[in-house]
Amino acid sequence: MAAPELDSDVLIVGSGASGAAAAWSLSRGGLRVTCLEQGRWVDPSEYAHSRPDYELARQTSFAKDPNVRGWAADYPINNSGTPIYPLMVNAVGGSTVHWSGHFPRMRPSDFRVRTLDGVADDWPFTYWDLEPYYDLNDSMVGVSGLAGDPANPPRSPRQTPPLAFDAGCEAYLRGLENLGWHWWPCDNALISEPFGENRSPCNCCGPCDIGCPIGAMSSAHVTYWPKALAQGVQLITHARVEQITVDHAGQATGALYYDDHGVRRSHTAGVVVMAANGVGTPRLLLNSTSARFPNGLANNSGVVGAYLMFHPVAFVSGVFEEVVNGQRGPIGGLMNCQEFYETDLARGFVRGFELQLSRSVGPLSVANGGILGHPVPWGSEHHEALRSRYAHTMTTSVMLEDLPEPENRVTLDPELTDAHGIPAPRVEYRAGENTQRMLEFSIARARELFEAAGAVEILVDPLVQESGWHLMGTCRMGDDPERSVINGWGQAHECSNLFVIDGSTFTTSAAVNPTSTIQAVALRCADWLGRNYRDVAA
């Protein structure tokens, strides 16, 4: 335990996927844990799924982009320097409050890209080091899927069976079987049968991206948080952290934050754990300047905020003559095709991508462009065009590995601030040459798939602007303090009682959705911290 005069043993900043998992893990061992969350609990009555205008929520109260959504807890982001907008949810549960729930694991090769492919850096641990924490995490959150995928190492049985297989899946399957490509039902953080308390199995209602009102989606606020709170974790909502404080020796002492009345408060702790996502965490560290850290906490190397990675996403939609009812069933959770995942230099790029074979949306969203930016035309052609797409469309996301580049980064905006006057983040990003070559190739493969499946029309959005869900790399892990911010346990090289556990820890991005890995990494770091707390705490 830390000194009794401290408010907590461990202070966690952020209650999303990683913060929730760490809060649960650390409190199991009896540590006094407090979590500061700038958002609030989302009341189930706020979900729009029972209203005929539910699709409007995508544009308003449950918009992906915080600059559009404008919740009181949201902070502005200057995204004028990036073609991909950072997306997030600022609430208890973080961005798992409304998401697609794709829950794949990274592959062994993803942790060793320098060794295997001569690019970027290896992670400071291997897939096999992380595997027990993947298993632990799956058992906590509840995953639907099927073990046995030959494109991935063997894994523990999934908690619930794969999700439904309907007409849209049959359409995809025509193409996949014609081409002889790999496919497998997705692992999803979405239960298909009863699992856990106060949760209902998925009833295939469709729009997971505007939240899940029945608790089928394995979001952090329905999985880890009830258990963490039962173990005594103190969760303070509406708490907007301004900076992490340090003592004269450069050790973290806690945080300054504004409470829900706008009163500036201090919270002291023996260890500070950053879990505020790949934009929020570097923002707060950069804003935490002191004589010891004039460029921001743990940033004498200049690496905090650098090496930002997204997963650049292209959407390719196929329109079929037959009814595929893509608006029914979980929007994201069908099948993955990992035919092109590992490096093949004959393709003209290193590393690879996966095709996420997903569903579609309701009539309003189809009219406004569906998942893509292709609105149905107005005028005399409108109704026929709408009826040719609605219930006839399936959409594939092309998700590729983004290599870390130091120029892609999060900094503090010199002018823009949030409601408390705290500098807002500015995001600068451009897709590198390898990424651009991979995008071109992968879009062509998605087209090929839809052609083989018999689609009568194929629509493409070659780089989706609103696709920056996956915020990675901005406090990267590594063994070299000149090229990384934290070590393999999440511990800052320059500040031994500061830890980072969210997506910003990623050394490389892999080509799969990161939340499963974010939570596994958080559990691994928390496990180590719990066992070494006495040696680490200030």
């Binding site: 029972s50 030959p150 069976p161 790999h182 069933g329 995942y341 309701g362 309003l364 219930a391």
Partner: protein, 148 residues
């Protein structure tokens, strides 16, 4: 009819415009006739950021219509005016179109015409269970991941 943002003249013009954007279809009346303009007025009241593009577009339509009011133009000329306004400021025009679609496709009667009887919850949908036998070819592909 009480509006919150639009003047009665703007409401009438928007309604006519919406009839061209989403015309009648079978037994379904066009969007403006169904009252979509009043719904858009409510959106403008709730979301101030929408006002500039929508109001700018309505003014541009009046200007493009020339001496004759938009209401007195025949259908072909109305569409011609709208195309010109769209080409001159596609971003603002697309916002007006988007809000018209929002008003139209959130109506239960329009949804019913597309076969939608209920919102997604609480009933959801019953879909067939996954059939593992479909994976036989893929299972036979052997190890596809790399760890060397």
């Amino acid at each position: 009819m009480t509006t919150r943002i639009l003047t009665p003249e703007e409401l009438a013009l928007l309604s006519l415009v919406q009839d061209e954007l989403v015309p009648s279809y079978g037994d379904l009346p066009p969007a403006g006739t169904l009252g979509a303009a009043l719904t858009v007025d409510a959106y403008l009241a709730e979301q101030p950021r929408l006002r500039r593009p929508v109001l700018t577009t309505l003014r541009a339509i009046e200007v493009r219509a020339g001496k004759a009011p938009f209401a007195e133009l025949d259908a072909g000329r109305r569409v011609e005016v709208l195309r010109k306004v769209e080409n001159a400021d596609p971003e603002s025009f697309s916002e007006l179109v988007k809000q018209t679609y929002n008003a139209y496709y959130t109506r239960p009667d329009i949804q019913a015409s597309l076969g939608i009887d209920n919102p997604p919850q609480p009933l959801g949908f019953e879909l067939p269970a996954f059939d593992e036998s479909r994976l036989s070819r893929v299972r036979a592909m052997g190890k596809l991941w790399r760890d060397d």
